[in-house]
Amino acid sequence: MQLPRFDLKRPSSFHEAVRLLVEYGNAAKISAGGTDLLPRMKYRIAAPATVISLKRIPVSEPFQDSEGNLHVHALVRLSDAASSNLVRTNAPALADAALAVGSEQIRNMGTLGGNVCLEPRCHYYNQSHAYQFMDPCFKRGGNLCYLVPKGNRCWALACSDTVPALIGLRAAAVVQSGDREYTIPVEELFTGDPVRPLCLGETDLITDIVVPAARPRTAVVFRKLSPRGGIDFATVNCAVMLKLSEDREACEDAIIAIGAVSGKPMRAGQAEKNLLGRKIAPDVIHEAAGRTASEIRPSMRCDCSISYLRKCIESLTQAALETAYQRASSGDGVKPD
């Protein structure tokens, strides 16, 4: 399969990239690592006249500021993020999530920022449509959904592995918007509409991810389930954060983030709230996992049933909570798997 024709721009700074975005507008697409964009272009489901490649922008190593916050450049390769000592020590869930993405080749090209902005996917949309013999779906600008033929919206899934981990870590994205810069929590980046998934302006670019300093008695754990060990997008992924009280028995703070089951990563707000102040025990964890599974509403999809997804959400959450509790209570809350 060949790429369609396009103009290639290679800015050497985010400033220049934003200027190009302003200049070319909708006709341009950003390529960070290209691992998602190029296949879509080959499938002809993305056909930008101009590709703005960010490969020439210098990438700085992850570093910790004076307050202990971890700064990771948006263009850090996923394999580098996964192997960075600083990331592994301070945000092991992020390292685990980065390591769970795609295959080794994809991690060697794909970037953290690119994975955060990953286009929502659908089995039927992310295909060549040359032999599909169907009209364009919502995400291709049409007026139907292959999955829910009578539906009135797109059901593509936000499949990023790093996003749930970043939500669990309460990370924020630094965004370059014209000449100004602003910071937004990663969780608030997403609209939930798979056709227009990001809340960012059309000329905004994520330049850095900032992970707040690790807190005591706190652990963040990432888990992923996928059809094959080697390469696939998640069937479900999950990140949980658990902060224990000083006696290391009760829950002081919790986050349960579930990805790959809907148009944006979901929080299990009720289950989290229910954990607060409670003494962590197997039945409490079991209850939280159960609440999560009934609270999260997975979208329709073709490769497995919603009831299967709920069961997986439950067992994945339970496993993640158990690990998080072990780590938070034993004091080494920040060691990666």
Binding site: F133, P227, K311, S315
Partner: protein
Amino acid sequence: MKNKDKPPELQPFFDKNIAGDVVPSIGISMPRIDAYAKVTGRERYAADYYGFDMIWAGVKRAGIPHARLKSVNTQAAENLPGVIAVLTHKNISGSNRQGVIRKDQPVLVDDKVRHCGDAVALVLAEDKETLAKAIKLTSADFEPLPGVFTTETALEENAPLVHEDHPGGNVLLKASLEIGSVQSAKEHCDVLVEACFETPLVEHAYLETEAGWAQLKEDGKLEIVASTQTPFRDRMEVADALGLEPERIRMIAPYAGGAFGGKDGVTVQSLLGLAALHANGRPVKMWWSREESFIAGTKRHAARMYYRLGAKADGSLHSLDTRLYFDTGPYDHLGGVVITLALEHSGGPYRIPNVSFKGWAVYTNNPIGGAFRGFGVAQVTAAMEQMMDMLAEKLAMDPLKLRLKNAVRKGDKNCVGVTLTHSTGLVECLEAVARHPLWTERAAWKSKAGPFKRRGAGIVALMHASGYGPVVPDVANAKVELTAEGKIKVYCGVVDMGQGNAATNLQIAGSILCQNVDRIELILPDTDRTLPSGSASASRCTYTFGNALIGACETLKLRILQRAADLLMVDDCDETALIPGAVRHLPTGREIPLHRLATFMNESERTATQRFRAPTAKEIPPVGNEIRLHGFPHTLFSYGAHLVRVEVNELTGVVDVKRYLSVSDCGKIINPHVYEQQIQGAIAQGIGYALSEEVQVNEGKVLTADLATFIIPAASDVPEIESQPVEIYEPSGPYGLKGVGEIATNGPLPAIANAVADACGVRIFRSPLTPSRVLRALRERLSEGGVH
């Protein structure tokens, strides 16, 4: 994935020169002659043919499962600059029909569209981009017809007909066989087990999608290079479809980049031939994309199989009643042959006195069912071997002992009434599994499953026929030549689609003629140069062609030695011997180099040919002639026994295949390395069939037309595989060999299903065993209250 207990059989080689210094011997692992060129990207596959002034050809696919074709609108495409021609059925002067047994598939649709992948128009363009645009601009007017998408609906009384002219309606072929009586099974059997199994439609997913290259030469000859398993049969099919004399067509078959049965028959060939006839002598190339390959290529038949198996209390099998429904899609392709082979194997490798087998190959408007490694046997083995475990459970008998008790031995009649006169090593295979620690120590291993994990072990017994059966001649013609330069040329008539038979041919010729590998040249299948030797299929390649090749090499050897004796003026050629590059007179040590010797021989003397026809069963079981024509029955079988250990995650339903043991009786082995590759590859493919591969089709439209949605196993999904040969000499085989190409594909699905049942106490009758199916079965069992 090598057995750790055995020393490695091969040193790291992958250097052509090292391989070249070897005089091949039979029975040793030799580097494959094709390996170096393939791993370095130098090998030229059909997809690698280009050329000056080349044209791209592509197909407008129907995109509708069942419709009458009213007209094809070519004007818009023809007006596009860069488009050379847009051809329809009107441009075809031959029969416009292809097919191996029943010629029912149009090259370009003339009357009716019968599945979404049907070819409506053929577009020729200067480049690929223009081609894609022109295909888009080509359209057709259809009158949609109601379709049939399941075998059940296709068999209903007033079902729409896929082929109005077929006397059998939507039944392409009904095969049946009855021996003894199953009517009174209830009275005579102490135990009866009944079940219905469903297996999915499966794509071959070869690396090299369907591809080829063609040119009309100045002398009027049509040259077609294609990725195919059947160059000689293709030539006849193309000639008939396009209305050409067969001798006008030259088919060339380079190494195929995988085929597995998907290239057993015409894919691009007729289309390319037609394109070349309209290309003013310019070369034309066609290369299907992965998606096109998914929708237009053939698949493993989806099957629904009803089984009823009865046995005595001591475990001896008494009766088996089966009904097999295979969805053959819109065209015969090889559907009739597949259902016939399935029928023959539906009772497995067991002695069963009373059987009633019925099989239907049913036309539908789904993708085309065709040949796929296993060829119907994969489906019925999945059913029969699960039945055996279900029976063992009901009898409270060890499943391995149950199999041993009923296993066929040499001299037995198998369950379709054929006396097994050739080597029959099933018992030896089963005994090897029974002795293996993976089996004997399974209880301890199972008890060590971690939390939320369940472990199980499953076994299966296998048999697989080789060759074409009684009517269609299973023939190979080998040719070897001493060239004028004193080298050896081996003319291979059978395609090497990756299984390594070309390298084996070289090993055979080199060993008989005592020549280094670098003194031997392989001529790959080419209808102008090599001799007709049948298809690369049916586990027959090395068996049939190897036998012919041994004869040809022995003839040439004798001729060389006799001529050398004459030139050396010695009485008896017994005193001479071939050595690399020369003939030596042993008593005196005098030598005559082969290139000298060759100058004294004329061309006809330097060439030797030999024909071999595979043996057929002499019994005539009670079946119609139609079934015999489709290849029933066989006489030569390979055997095997597999063991698998799995771990099931009871929270997610994921089945993790931990270990795999394969014991096979495929006769004596010529090259252990190539043999091992066949076993390992087949098992990896079988694991995909068992756990994840399923072409999903909705109303005839393929929903999973790529490798992101059709999930084949990756390296990390394939466990350590241990392969043990049971090397029983088969007197009719070359050096005692039998076929190994397919048998191991049939094992993993039933073995894994049996292991999952062993682990969880649930049996899943519909494959693949995806996590959601496994989890649902587990939960249903839990809700019934029957934990463990």
